[in-house]
């Protein structure tokens, strides 16, 4: 079926609603890589078998990830007319009692995390109500909004994560999907779309925080017949699984954002750059692209308009530096991923020398709701200079690793305590790394800083990708600096002198410090290298590489000194 009008889209929507809220029971299981490693697959099999044996009319659906990683496998049960109940840490042997309760239309309180009576559909602003009356046995289960994990959250990019089946375009449409596209194509000029994005003041979620609207505008105004829009799913940061959740839970929201961007900028083709070796994400995205093509949401004359657009998925080949815009474009062109000087903006001469606009996955996911609900709605969320929300992947020495989305302005402390359940028992918070290798480390004393592009830059860090790694007092900052620098040494392109040689020398010095053979002069020498690299390097990898050394020298200089003067590692991490 081709969707050619709003009427057709509404038809698709009602089909999706039937899937999301069927007449029978819907059981949904999260299937992210982590859930799978905790045997989610076996749980699904067991659920199916038990439901079958008990003759219960139910559908088991694989969904993405709600973000409560520490409770995987997560199972949600929707019985028509009753609140949705979310269960955590469901193992195969818990399945029979769960199914038994389902068969009686009841909930199992001891496995339940929370219940949902109604939920907001972000794209339309309407609420959907699961149950008009809450049965008494359900009342004992806390509401989602009372559940600590959800309290600080506002889920815009993650609006569908864990709720819909990522393989179903119908379910996406049922949650207001593609309505922004239809609004843009039928009621808005490309300029108007850009205007809304500028007014909403969306800043790029890939690291730099550059205003997306301005970038779009420059690209729209650049001369050139062919233009491209690109989505950066590079995720080179070691130790965060964020893009993965977006891709695996809600691939259509990326596509919709990209199509709207293509329309606004005047591009005919969009590319998704996916980092290498990520089979499950590739499969989800390819499937979504196929579906969108099949329904005419991609291809010629989208939704009956004059606008035609296609999306191509291309895999990289595994190098961190390929997240950098010009290196990413070189890789898409099939060349080696070396950055090039950017004095001519990629908005004017990018992919195959055509005007090109690159945004991060999360940035694209934010676009549809902004178009649907307007800049005014978006502007109310977040802080003055950083609007909206940020997806945070929280790992490290916290009690609960998780993935969540909080309004800008939420403090790091709130994230650690409310979402992460605090620091691992018996240890103290020492440092926080916010945005991967280039962002550096912040000391515990700055945990009250808000998540906000400018505030973090002021403190000498970066919001970066939002991969927040929490470190306790067993972590040695010299060792962490050495770890990041070593990573960058191996991952840089090796093209320009300061970055290639400078990072290597910083690593040598840090190796020396952690082996207990550091010298007093080393600190000054490190500082000199830092100052040179941050301005003289060719690309942002080299320019930001010294941040981790700079920030640790700024906040933890004493610890460096102890390594040198007493030849001991206060955290006993370095082996001397």
């Amino acid at each position: 079926m081709k969707v050619k009008s709003i009427r057709d889209l509404n038809k698709l929507k009602s089909e999706g609603e039937k899937l999301l809220r069927p007449k029978n029971i819907r059981v949904q299981v999260g299937t992210t890589p982590y859930a799978l490693s905790r045997k989610a697959r076996d749980v699904i099999e067991k659920l199916k078998k038990e439901l079958d044996q008990q003759n219960i009319d139910a559908t088991v659906v694989r969904v993405g990830c709600v973000g409560i990683c520490y409770e995987e496998p997560v199972v949600e049960v929707i019985i028509p007319g009753k609140p949705k109940v979310t269960y955590g840490s469901i193992t195969v042997d818990k399945v029979p009692s769960l199914v038994k309760a389902i068969s009686k239309g009841k909930a199992v309180k001891k496995y339940a995390l929370y219940r949902t009576d109604q939920e907001e559909i972000i794209c339309s602003g309407k609420t959907f109500s699961y149950a008009s009356r809450v049965p008494s046995d359900y009342k004992k289960i806390p509401l989602a909004c009372e559940f600590k994990f959800f309290q600080p959250q506002v889920r815009i990019a993650l609006r569908n994560a864990g709720i819909i089946n990522p393989d179903s375009i119908e379910e996406y449409v049922a949650r207001g999907g593609y309505s922004a596209l239809s609004k843009a194509l039928t009621k808005m000029t490309p300029e108007k779309v850009i205007d809304v994005v500028i007014k909403a003041d969306v800043r790029g979620r890939g690291g730099g925080g550059f205003p997306a609207g301005l970038k779009w505008k420059t690209c729209r105004e650049a001369k050139g017949k062919e233009k491209y829009v690109l989505c950066n799913c590079s995720e080179g940061d070691p130790g965060i699984g964020m893009h993965k959740t977006l891709i695996e839970s809600d691939p259509h929201s990326i596509l919709e954002g990209l199509i709207i961007g293509g329309y606004a900028i005047g591009a005919m083709e969009g590319y998704i750059y996916l980092h290498y070796g990520y089979a499950s994400g590739k499969e989800k995205l390819l499937k979504a692209i196929d579906q969108a093509n099949e329904y005419g949401l991609l291809g010629k004359n989208i939704l009956g308009s004059d606008f035609s657009f296609s999306i191509i998925l291309k895999e990289g080949a595994g190098a961190y530096v390929c997240g950098e815009s010009t290196a990413l474009m070189a890789t898409l062109e099939g060349r080696s991923g070396e950055p090039r000087p950017k004095y001519i903006h990629t908005a004017e001469k990018g992919l195959w020398d055509c005007p090109t606009n690159l945004n991060n996955v999360e940035t694209w996911c934010n676009i549809p709701p902004i178009i649907s609900r307007g800049a005014g709605w978006y502007g109310k969320i977040g802080t003055k200079s950083s609007k909206g929300t940020k997806v945070i992947s929280l790992t490290g020495n916290v009690n609960r690793s998780c993935l969540a989305e909080v309004p800008m302005g939420t403090t790091m402390k709130e994230v650690i305590n409310k979402l992460g359940g605090g620091i691992v028992k018996g240890t103290k918070l020492k440092a926080i790394g916010v945005g991967g290798p280039p962002a550096g480390l912040l000391p515990a004393s700055l945990a009250d800083l808000p998540i906000d592009f400018d505030e973090l830059v002021k403190a000498g860090s970066l919001l970066g990708s939002g991969g927040m790694i929490v470190m306790n007092d067993k972590t040695c900052v010299v060792d962490m600096a050495r770890f990041f620098i070593k990573f960058l040494e191996e991952e840089s392109c090796g093209r320009c002198f300061p970055c290639r040689e400078g990072i290597k020398r910083m690593r040598e010095i840090l190796d020396g410090l952690s082996a207990g053979i550091g010298k007093d002069e080393d600190i000054d020498l490190l500082q000199e290298i830092v100052d040179c690299l941050s301005e003289a390097s060719l690309c942002d990898l080299g320019k930001s590489a010294p941040n981790v050394v700079r920030s640790t020298l700024r906040y933890f200089r004493e610890e460096y000194k102890i390594h040198i003067q007493q030849q001991v590692c206060p955290s006993k991490r370095c082996t001397m």
Partner: protein, 250 residues
Amino acid sequence: MIKLTIDGKKIQTGKNTTILMAARENRIKIPTLCHHDGLSPLANCRLCVVEVTEKGRTKVVTSCNYKVAEGMSVETKTENIIAMRKMIVELLASRSPNVKLVRELADEMGIKDTRFVLENEKCILCGLCVHVCSEFIGARAITFSGHGSEKIVSAPLGSSAKDCLGCGACVEVCPAQCITMKDIEEARTYSSGDHEHLGPARLIHNWNVRVLWKKCRVCGNMFPPPSPMKYLKEEKPLPKQFFETCEKCQ
């Protein structure tokens, strides 16, 4: 014409000129390592950094590839710029202490000792050899291999550069003078016990190549691959069949 100032000096120059060119036209010296007039800028060495102030904003750029603009003001010798250049040269002098050009630069900048562990790399990885071979000659016979601190220049797969024409442009542009080339009168193979005589040939050791001399398309004499440097210096493209004709008949 575009008006700008470099180190306080008022200057006029043509559109599309780089800061480096404009500075040189006015005898203002900016050190470079990876720049060659006949080739597009690489901007790898970063030695030519300068401070540019445009529309009230100051930033550090490489002068070899940054174009002049009306009203721009350029500083080539601020304390910050000198410190960066010194650090780059110190880093280089630790990597390649025996490269003449690097030693000269270090002396010029007053760097006596380097504070890093000494290595002895002959190649400074400026990229000019790969660049001239690909952009000017069009052979793309040699290449970079790897990435990060393990990058090197080499023949493909580290074996022999089979697309090499033996022109020696790489030898000529190498600022470190680390590519060695030699003409021999008699190349031989030793493979099947017997040797086979192949005639005169050119060897370029770094790329493991042996290029046999050719017969000139015009006069029929054997001749070594001709040097393309004249054309490179004059920034003219190579004539067609340049490598098929001996120098006399060109």
